[in-house]
Each structure stands twice: as C-alpha cells, then as structure tokens.
Chain length 198, copies 2
C-alpha cells in the first residue's frame, strides 16, 4: 500500500542511527564515559529502544564496530604475485586505519569488551576474526603453490606471527606503529617461512 | 621509642591489604563489577584511604597487578645453551600462569585499563614491559654470540614474533593456549632467525 511506512525499513533506519550515534559519541567522549543514555540522546531515541535490541553496552559497541568496519565486506587479500609486497600493503593499510582516531577508539572499545566477555569474544572470532583469517590463509596457500612459502609452514602460526605484532603494539602501546615497523615484521617473519634452497 | 607504632610501617601494611583485597575481589566478582567501595570493604578501610593513594580504579588495579605479578622480581631468562628449549620453557610457564583464574582476571583487568589510558600504558611499558623486554634481548644476544641466532636479526621484531602470539591469543581468545601452540610458535619463528648455513 503506497503511503504506509514499512515498519521493517523504519526500524532498520533507527538501528543504523543508534549504531552511528554510538561511534560518533565514542569518538567524542571516549569509552569510559560512553553511556546508553548518551547514545540514546545522540540518536534521538528512547533508552528502551536500545535495550530492546541490545542486552548491554558491550553488545551494542560490538555491533557498532562491525558496522563501522564494514561487516560482510571482507575482501580477499591482494595477490600481485609478490607475497612480501602484498603483506606489507595490507599491514600498512591497517596502520593507517588505526591512525584514524574514530577507528582507533571504536576498536579499543570493542577490545575492552572482548577481553572481559567470553560470549562476545566468541562472536568476534566467529564474525570477524575467523573470516579474515580464512582470507589470509588463502593468500598464504597461493604463495605456497608458487613456491614463495614453504610447504610445511603451519599457516595458523604464520598468520599469528605476521599479523599479531601490529595488533599487540597498538593495543599495549609498546612502540610507534609505523610503515617501517610492519615492513620489518614481514621481512623478519618471511626469512624463515620461505622454502629452503636445495 | 619502643612501643610506639611506626606510621610508615602501618601505612605499608594498609597499602598491601588494599592491593590484596583488590586482587581477591577481582577474582570473585570480575572486573566490570569491581568497585572502590567493594575493595575498601574487603580491605577493612575507608574509601577515602584508597582515594588518598590512588586517583582511579585503573591506577589501583595496575599497582595491584604489579604487586601480584612480583614487581621488581623480574629474573633473567634461562640459558641452558639451547635457545629453542629455553624459549619454550618460558612461554609454557606463561601459558600455565594465564591458566590460573586469579592471574588471568588480574591481567585482563590491567589490560582493559591500558587499552583506554595513555598514561597508565606508559607506566606499564616503563615498569613492566621494558624491563622484561631487556631481559629477553639479553637472552637473544647470548644466542647470537654462540651462533644460534643470526647476527642481522632485528631483536625488537624477533621478540614481538616470539612473545606476541601467546599474548594475542589469550587476550582475543582466538584459540586454545597450549604448550603445543607455544612450541610451534618458537619453532616457526626460529626457522628464519637462525644463521643461514654457508
């Protein structure tokens, strides 16, 4: 019936408004001061609307982060035929993303929730970490096929060694996150992962 | 003067009681439900006593963790002459520590604070991360001297690759933390860090 608003569409728009408000407010006030009240006010909805959809600040923040980071838009890693160059490209892009204060704050907020919440951590692994890991594995398998990575490398561990250090340094603030640093990580890790010369 | 209590000693005992209460209560109720009120009650002191020494729950938790983990007791890494075996020993011990719920909860609480607080992160690096990193570097330098590690390895990056994956997997809960896993990390990392055969 024309003229009658679609309740599903309206509620989608409200959800999106709430998720956007959460990220915006987070960027302004930081995670410790972020409240459901504040998000409701910013989104122009009642607190009860938020509680109808999310059980806690943690689950709201988690979904806001997924939406912000582009849920479901996970793309394959580049494959130019040069594994080291492709890995450096991806990790440099990660460093650039983390340099954006909105992204930095949203990702820190999500991590705080994961650190303390088993269930949310499981959702994070299932919805974000595992799909990303599969794409990384595919790129490493392609490198194995063309002889740029040894056949007997444990791919799970290789991924942890290549992608873990950047995340750690960012999370713990143990050193500057630069393109130089990620280049060194890739070069150092790949020394041992390349096939041995006969 | 005998019989007159030493105010410094008394205040040391009170501090220790507060730090212990913080760790005990954390183990019971978890970080999100931990309050200064609860810690004061458990320690048998007034809230004002706590606020006199610590500006926030974060700085109290941080010091409680340092005391619990043995502040200043950082010991050199074992050196049996076999780098791989020594690294596995240290990392297996870390896995065992993190398997203790009290240690796990205290370390998670400290990380939550570090993730959101620049100043506390700086203190963490200065008081815990950097001294530990120096000890790791010393062990790697000894391995370089006896030809078990290549001369041109960037030690900072090598440390991130050897010790980062365990921390990551624990913090993000991306997989089981086992002795097998840390053995694989050490073996995979060292493949590339050993001197090349001439």
């Amino acid at each position: 019936m024309p003229g009658v608003p679609d309740p599903n569409r309206r509620s989608d728009a409200t959800r999106r408004a709430i998720l956007t408000a959460a990220i915006d407010l987070l960027g302004e006030v930081g995670y410790p001061k972020l409240t459901i009240e504040g998000i409701a006010r910013t989104a122009g909805v009642g607190k009860q609307t938020i509680y109808r959809w999310w059980a806690s600040k943690g689950s709201l923040i988690f979904e806001a982060f997924l939406a912000f980071a582009g849920d479901g838009e996970t793309a394959a890693l580049p494959d130019t035929g040069d594994l080291a160059a492709d890995l450096k490209l991806v990790l440099r892009a990660t460093v650039d993303e983390l340099d954006d204060p909105r992204y930095d704050k949203a990702m820190r907020a999500m991590h705080v929730e994961i650190v303390n919440d088993h269930l949310l951590a499981g959702e994070y692994v299932a919805r974000l970490e595992k799909p990303m890991r599969e794409l990384k594995k595919e790129r490493l398998r392609a490198a194995q096929r063309v002889g740029q990575l040894a056949e007997d490398v444990e791919l799970e561990v290789a991924i942890d060694m290549l992608f873990g250090p950047v995340l750690n340094r960012w999370l713990q603030r143990t050193g500057p996150l630069t393109h130089d640093y990620v280049d060194q990580v890739v070069d150092t890790a790949l020394r041992g992962l390349k096939p041995r010369k006969p």
